[in-house]
Amino acid sequence: MGAVTYPDSRVAEFINNRVIPVQLLFDSQPYASMYNVKWTPTILMLDDGGKEHHRIVGFLPPEEFIPGLLLGMAKVNFDRDSLGQADGDVEKIINSYPQSAAAPEAIYLRGVIQYKETHNPQPLKEAFEKLRREHPTSEWSKRAMPYGLL
């Protein structure tokens, strides 16, 4: 990460503007035990209470890392019921990084967010249809299969 992804100007700008970045040695205690760190790189997205919401283990290139961070931010917002902010994060993934590894989960999560906001099941059905059309082999397409029956 330190050789390729973090020096990328897009990544650095994103991190400096959108999150509070912390680096700790992999064996830094008590945190390595607290967060069950077994391999590096291990990158966590935490809320301001220190609770983990998303984990990336292993290298990601810049074009995958930024959508991975957006997904983590969406999960932080979703878990604290900030649905509007979570929707903005996943929308950015879907529109700006549609071929990224984070995109299928973002499509699924967007369906869930919009269902929770409206209590209308149509966004769940649309998420399934978009996943089947654009990411048919994704596990998220399989997870959304029940929504195809709505």
């Binding site: 990460m1 650095a12 912390v22 992999f26 830094s28 809320d47 301001d48 209470g49």
Partner: protein, 32 residues
């Protein structure tokens, strides 16, 4: 080239996260 402004301790980062309304990105790294 922009450098990431890493913080070296988690407690400071959590305090900043509260005041700035941002999540914390915590990177456990191996320097070797």
């Amino acid at each position: 080239m922009a450098d990431i402004k890493w913080i070296g301790d988690l407690e400071t980062a959590l305090s900043l996260a509260k005041s700035e309304g941002k999540p914390v990105l915590l990177d456990f790294f191996n320097p070797n």
